[in-house]
Amino acid sequence: MDVDTLLRAHDPASRQPLPGPDSPEAISSYQQIIGSARPKRKAARIRIVVGVTSGAVAALAVGLTLSSLPGVTHPAGTAIGHPSSSASQPTASQPTAIAVLTAKQVLDTAATAALSHPGAAPRPDQFVYTKVGDGGHVAQTWLSVNGSRNGLAEAQGPNGTTTILGCVDGQHQIRTPGYNGKPYTGPANPKAPVPLDGPVVTEPCTPQPAFFPAMPTTASAMSAYLAKTQGVRLGDINDVAKVVGGIFQSDYLLPAQRAALYEFLATMPGLTLERNVKDVSGRPGIGVGWSFMGSSAVLIFDPRTYTLLGITTRGQQGQVGGDALLQMAITNQAGQQP
């Protein structure tokens, strides 16, 4: 068998014509790429300086004391304060509205708030429970703390409940597509989904932990950690923010780890303050945003508690996506409600 010939016969790029460089999408992309780098001309020689002095900024800054946010203590089943849908409801012990001037101040404040939460490392045999919403549907997941046990994902709609396979000794078993234990032999592009009811096969895998004990607890150590473990391009705000956003979304963090991530993110240039934003479930917040390739994304925080509410993205055509982070907790079993 000539493997190369076989591959060429099934080349995904030859299945349908690809749009060329003169296509509307290619031209639009080209213009966006070069548009951001055009040399800026001085519009006029009017020299009006708009701004405030550092003294004025300092005078406008508001001191913060955050010491009594809802916290995290877990024995299993105890809800974790970060993130939490209840965090958007102010209580007498929570700070009232905080005036901030910059994205960095939002992140620094969030770091301070995170440190006020108690927190302890979960046991390796436990699960990180996460509840997220996209504004219409709610999904719950139970992810193995060390990636070795089978987790669970529950989503509304036709996908229902899915087992997230744990990885033991570098292997897991999966059931392949098919019917009644026999492999699927139908067309290459099935019209309807094929059930995973074929033969069970063993495949190599890498454990996917939901908690990383080795993650640093200082901002200064975070950049090297992210570069080493995630391959983050430290000069690329989009890459950094995407990775950090993903960690917030799905991993359990100790308070000091969360604070360090916020403080690390605060050192990145290119972040903008976004006032009066809402997460995809409609909760109002204050945001830290960044732009990339004509799209944008924003981390949204509760404006009183500075708990992370979620991440919202906006595509080139204005399409909105993202998740609202509703609850995170530690449980002893997959499927167990906290």
């Binding site: 190369d4 899915t162 699927y184 391959g231």
Partner: protein, 204 residues
């Protein structure tokens, strides 16, 4: 000396120079874009799971090229340079996708053997066979079979020696054949003729 030129005139001269430099850069970039857009697009189509992600990957590759235009080598080597960027962008894309939508990604990982919009024949065996091939070997095979690069060219993209590419491709082919239940060929080292300009496994 600049200090003897009136400020307005000096700024105007600087502006003209900036405009000229920009125009030259844009001309070169436009040529690069027109010449290699389809190649990079095809590279992405062959490697991403979601077709909608292709445009993002291509745009990121060319954004990198625009930013680092001075680093882009001339002529044919530019495509290899762009493939190298695309490879890193895709690695970051997968990582970012995994992290950013990690919950979804984990579910997808659990369904690793589910039929993708298949790249192969009636039983999906090629798809499954390729997934069994270690990533480094698979990428070497894809570069040779799909991008039709010589071992020496693939070595430039992968940052290894042409000999290493040859070994990886050989192993990848063997693994695919094994997945199809076929014995190794009589001449296990080279299955398809090497492009003439490569100088064999030693390349350039």
């Amino acid at each position: 000396m600049n200090q003897h030129v009136p400020t307005d005139e000096r700024e105007e001269q600087q502006q003209v120079r900036a405009d000229d430099g920009y125009a030259q850069r844009e001309r070169r970039f436009r040529q690069l874009y027109e010449e290699h857009y389809l190649h990079i697009q095809a590279y992405a189509v062959r490697r991403v799971d979601v077709r909608a992600d292709v445009a993002d990957v291509v745009a990121e590759v060319f954004t990198t090229a625009w930013r680092r235009l001075d680093d882009v080598p001339p002529a044919a080597e530019a495509r290899l340079w762009l493939y190298g960027v695309a490879r890193r962008v895709l690695a970051g894309h997968r990582r970012g996708k995994e992290r950013f939508g990690r919950l979804i990604a984990r579910i997808e990982a659990s369904h690793v053997a589910a039929p993708q919009p298949a790249l192969d024949g009636p039983d999906g065996r090629l798809t499954r066979a390729l997934r069994q091939v270690p990533a480094a070997e698979r990428e070497a095979l894809m570069l040779v079979a799909w991008e039709q690069l010589s071992y020496a060219e693939a070595a430039q993209v992968l940052g290894c020696s042409p000999n290493a590419v040859g070994i990886r491709v050989h192993r990848a082919r063997a693994r695919v054949r094994e997945a199809f239940g076929e014995p190794p060929p009589a001449n296990p080292v080279r299955q398809t003729p090497m492009p003439a300009h490569t100088g064999g496994n030693h390349g350039r």
